[in-house]
Symmetry: C2
Subunit: 485 residues, 2 copies
C-alpha cells in the first residue's frame, strides 16, 4: 500500500525521460529527435504514446516540430532548468498544524516596505483601477437603497447570471439559481468542506498544496492526505485511485488548473478520468477554479465539473486573481449539496454587501473583460519567463523550477541541504519576501523548496532581488557544506 508506486500515464513517463535527456545534455539543443516510429520501437511503446509525449514536450517548449523535417530539441535557455519530479508525500493522512508562518508571509507580502514574491496575486497596477472606481460610484448611486437592506444568501441575481455565463468557458452549464456568492474562493471552499465532512475526516489534496487549504483543514479539524502531484500534469489520478480504494477519504480538494504552488494543469484526459473515478467511489470533489482564466491553453480552462454527471463536483472560484482582489467576490455551485451549502452560508455568515456584487456584475458584463484577461496573461507570462531566466543564472547548481502554463507562480526545488526557512529569514533581512516550502504541506517534505510569485510589480528592483535570493541560497548552502563534511 505504497502510494508512491502509483504512476502517471505512459506518455508522461516517456516525456519525463526525454526531458531528462535534454536537461542532461544527452539530446543537444537543435539536435533532431528520433522519429515517432523509431522512438516507439526503441521505447517499446505505441506510436500514439510517442505522439502524445512529443506534443507535451512541444507544449513545454522543450522541443519543436519543423514541418516535413521532424522534431528538434529547442534552442537552449540561459541554463537548462530541470522541472521537479512528481511529489512523493507520505501515504498516511496527517493532522494539520500550519502555524503563524503563513500569516506572517501574507502580511509582509502586502507591506510596501518589502519586495514581495510572497502573494499569489497580480500587482494592483495590473487591474483596471479607474474602471473599478467608476463602477463603484455608479453602483452606489443606482442601488443606494440596497445599502439599507439586509442582503440575503445566495446573493445578487445579476452577478449569479454573469457567473453562469462565464462558466460556459469552463465547459459548464450552470443554473444561476444554484450559484451561491461568497467572500472570495476561501469562503466557498470552507463551506464546501463543512457541507461534506465532519471533524476527523480525511480530505485528499495535491502535494504540495495551497497553505490556505491547510489552514482551513486545520480550522475544521480535518486530516490531510497528500496525493503525489506532477509539476506539469498535476494530481496523479492513479495515486488518488489507490488512496480512494484503501482509505476512507471523504472529499477531494484540488486545483486542476495552475495548482498553487506547483503551477500544474491537468491534461484534459486526466480531468475526465478524475470525474469518472469520483463517480465510481461516490466521493465529492471540491474544485478550486480560481486560476482557470489565467491558463494559457483553452483545454486547461475546462473544469472537471464539465465531466461530472452525478453532481459530485462542487465548483468554486472568485474574481480576486483576474478583476479585483479587493472586492472579495467568490462563488460556488455545489452540485448535489446546493441546498445544504446555501443553509450553511446563511447560518455561518449571511449575505454580502450587494454593492460589491453589483459592481462585479457590471464589470463582467462590459466588453473590456476579455481583453483585460488577455493582457493580464501576457504580462504574467513575461514575468514568469524572465524570472525563470534569472533563476537559471543565479540560483545554486541542481536547482529545479517548474514551467507553468499560465499564472504567476514558480515552484523552486533547491538542493536538499537548503533550509528554506533559513533562506526566508535571510531574505527578510534584506526586505525580500519569499514563501518557504514548509508552508505548503502538513509534512516537512518541502523544506528545501520555495514558492516565488512574480505577479507583483516587475522591474529592475525585482530582478535584482530575485538574483539576491539565489545568492543568499548559495551562501547558505556553502555554510552548510563544512558541517555536512
Amino acid at each position: 500500500m505504497d502510494i508512491q508506486l502509483a504512476e502517471p500515464p505512459l506518455y508522461l513517463k516517456l516525456a519525463d525521460r526525454l526531458s531528462a535527456a535534454i536537461a542532461s545534455g544527452a539530446l543537444v539543443p537543435g539536435g533532431r529527435l528520433p522519429s515517432v516510429r523509431q522512438c516507439a520501437r526503441e521505447q517499446s511503446v505505441s506510436v500514439s504514446t510517442v505522439v502524445q509525449a512529443y506534443r507535451h514536450l512541444e507544449d513545454a517548449r522543450l522541443i519543436e516540430a519543423r514541418p516535413k523535417s521532424g522534431y528538434f530539441v529547442a534552442a537552449a535557455p540561459l541554463r537548462k532548468l530541470q522541472e521537479p519530479d512528481t511529489s512523493a508525500p507520505p501515504t498516511e493522512s496527517v493532522a494539520v498544524d500550519i502555524g503563524s508562518l503563513s500569516e506572517r508571509v501574507m502580511q509582509l507580502a502586502v507591506d510596501p516596505a518589502y519586495i514581495s514574491f510572497g502573494a499569489a496575486c497580480p500587482a494592483p497596477e495590473l487591474f483596471p483601477q479607474e474602471r473599478l472606481r467608476r463602477a463603484f460610484s455608479r453602483a452606489a448611486l443606482r442601488h443606494r437603497a440596497q445599502l439599507c437592506q439586509y442582503p440575503l444568501v445566495p446573493g445578487e441575481d445579476s452577478l449569479r447570471r454573469a457567473v453562469a455565463r462565464r462558466a460556459l468557458a469552463m465547459g459548464c452549464t450552470l443554473d444561476p439559481r444554484d450559484i451561491v456568492l461568497t467572500n472570495g474562493c476561501n469562503d466557498a471552499v470552507g463551506l464546501c468542506l463543512q457541507a461534506v465532512t465532519k471533524p476527523g475526516d480525511i480530505v485528499a489534496l495535491e502535494s504540495p498544496t495551497s497553505f490556505g487549504f491547510l489552514q482551513v483543514l486545520e480550522a475544521l479539524h480535518l486530516r490531510a492526505l497528500e496525493i503525489p502531484t506532477h509539476p506539469r500534469h498535476g494530481l496523479s489520478v492513479d495515486a488518488l485511485s489507490l488512496a480512494l480504494s484503501t482509505q476512507p477519504v471523504r472529499a477531494v480538494l484540488a486545483v486542476p488548473t495552475l495548482a498553487n504552488p506547483i503551477g500544474a494543469s491537468m491534461p484534459l484526459a486526466e480531468r475526465k478520468r478524475l470525474a469518472q473515478l469520483l463517480a465510481q467511489h461516490q466521493v465529492p470533489l471540491i474544485e478550486d477554479a480560481i486560476y482557470n482564466d489565467l491558463a494559457e491553453r483553452d483545454e486547461h480552462r475546462r473544469a472537471v465539473k464539465s465531466f461530472d454527471t452525478e453532481g459530485l463536483v462542487m465548483l468554486c472560484s472568485s474574481f480576486s486573481k483576474t478583476v479585483a482582489p479587493g472586492l472579495r467576490v467568490g462563488w460556488v455551485e455545489a452540485g448535489r449539496w446546493t441546498t445544504p451549502l446555501r443553509r450553511l452560508k446563511t447560518a455561518l455568515s449571511g449575505g454580502h454587501t450587494s454593492i460589491t456584487e453589483l459592481v462585479m456584475a457590471d464589470l463582467l458584463m462590459q466588453r473590456g473583460y476579455e481583453p483585460q484577461l488577455r493582457r493580464l496573461r501576457q504580462v504574467l507570462a513575461r514575468h514568469v519567463d524572465e524570472a525563470r531566466g534569472l533563476i537559471g543564472e543565479s540560483f545554486p547548481r541542481g536547482t529545479r523550477v517548474t514551467d507553468p502554463q499560465g499564472g504567476m507562480m514558480l515552484w523552486v526545488e533547491l538542493p536538499p541541504a537548503l533550509d528554506s526557512l533559513a533562506l526566508f529569514k535571510a531574505c527578510l533581512d534584506e526586505r525580500i519576501v519569499i514563501a518557504p516550502g514548509t508552508m505548503f504541506s502538513a509534512t516537512d517534505r518541502y523544506r528545501h523548496c520555495i514558492r516565488l510569485s512574480v505577479g507583483g510589480p516587475w522591474g529592475d528592483v525585482q530582478r535584482q532581488a530575485l538574483r539576491r535570493v539565489g545568492q543568499l541560497a548559495q551562501v547558505l548552502l556553502r555554510a552548510r557544506l563544512p558541517l555536512a563534511a
Copy 2:
C-alpha cells in the same frame, strides 16, 4: 435538577407580583401604592428591595412617582396587556434542527409584495441613505488602490479604532489591535463558537432565542441548552448557574440587551453576576451586543464584558441595525481567544472589502451618528407603543405581550390553543409576514407565540395589517374550540 426552580432576584419577583396586581385590576389606574416602608413590612422584604422594585415598575411606565406624594399606578393603557412569564424550556440540551421555515420568513420579510413584521431590522427609510451613498463614492475615490489589493484579517485600522471608541459607551476599553472585523454579527458569533467548541458540545442560550443562533448551532453540530429567560430582565443567572453546575456547558451565547425575540434587557447587577459566574466556572460568554445602541436606558448599553476581568467574554456586534444593514460590517473582540479567532477568520473566509469598512469608519467619525441614533430610537419607540395598543385592541383575550425598553421587537404569547404556524400561513394568504414562535427554539415550546417586528415602514397599511393578524388569530382560535370540546 429542575432548572425551572431557579428564580430571579427578590426585587424582580416583587415587581412581578405588583405588576400582576395592576394587570388584574387589584391596583387601579391612578390609585396610590403602599409606601416603601409599608410594602417592605407587608411583603417581608427589605426597604431597598422595594425601592428597586418600584424603580423597575417606574421604568416600565406601570407606576409613577409624584414628588412628596408617593407612588401611583399609571393611567391605564387601552387594554391592560400582561407580559409573558419567565420562559420554562426543558432542562436537557437538544440537537438543533431549524428547517427551511426561517429561510422562508427571511426571504418574504424583504419581499416588497408583502407587509412585513418579519425582519428584525429597521426600515430602509430610517437610515441615512444619501449620506451612505456619498461616503461610498468618497471612499472609492480616495482608496481606489484598495480595490486591487487583497484585504487582510483583521481589517481596516481606521474602523477598528472607531469601534474601540464606540465600545467606550458599553463600558469597555478595547485595544483596536484585538478587534477583528467580520461579515456582520452572524459571522462573528459563528467564529467565536468555532473557537471555543467542538461538534457535540453544549451551548447555553436564552429561551426563546434568535433563530440565527439556532441555525449556527445546527451548522456546527452543537447542542442547545435553553435557559429560562424573563421577558423583561432576560437570562436567569440563577438558572444558568444551576446549569453550569450540572451539565458540561462549553459556552454561553447571549444577548443581554434587547434579546431577540423577547426584547429583554438584563439589569446591571445581573450583568455583573453573570460575569462573576463565568469566572467561577471558567466558561466563555459570546455576548451579542448588536442591539445595545438601541436600548432606551444607559445601563442597558453597558456590556457584560465591562465586568469581565479574565478575558472570558467575546464581544460581538455590528452596525446592521443602526447604520446600514447592507454594509454587513460586524466585529468581535474575543478576549483570550483573540489569536485563534483571527486565525479562524483567515482560514475560513479571509478579509472583507476594505471599501465598506472605510465607509463605516467615515460614517462613525461624523458628528451625525449620535443624533441619527437618537432619532432612530424615538421612531422605534413610537412604533412599539402603537403596536402594543393595536395588539391590545384586536388580539384574542388572554394574549400577553412584552414591553421592551428599546428596539423594535414584540414577543406575543397567544392563548395556548393557538398554532402560530397556522396563523403564519393564514397571514401569508393575506400577504402579511409574521415570525411564528417555533422558529425561536429547538423545542416546540413556543408554538402559540409569535414575534412581531415593527421597525419596518409604519402607516395605516401596517396598522390595518396588525389588526388583521389579531382577527385571524381570533378566527383560528374559534375554529379550534369545537374540536377541543
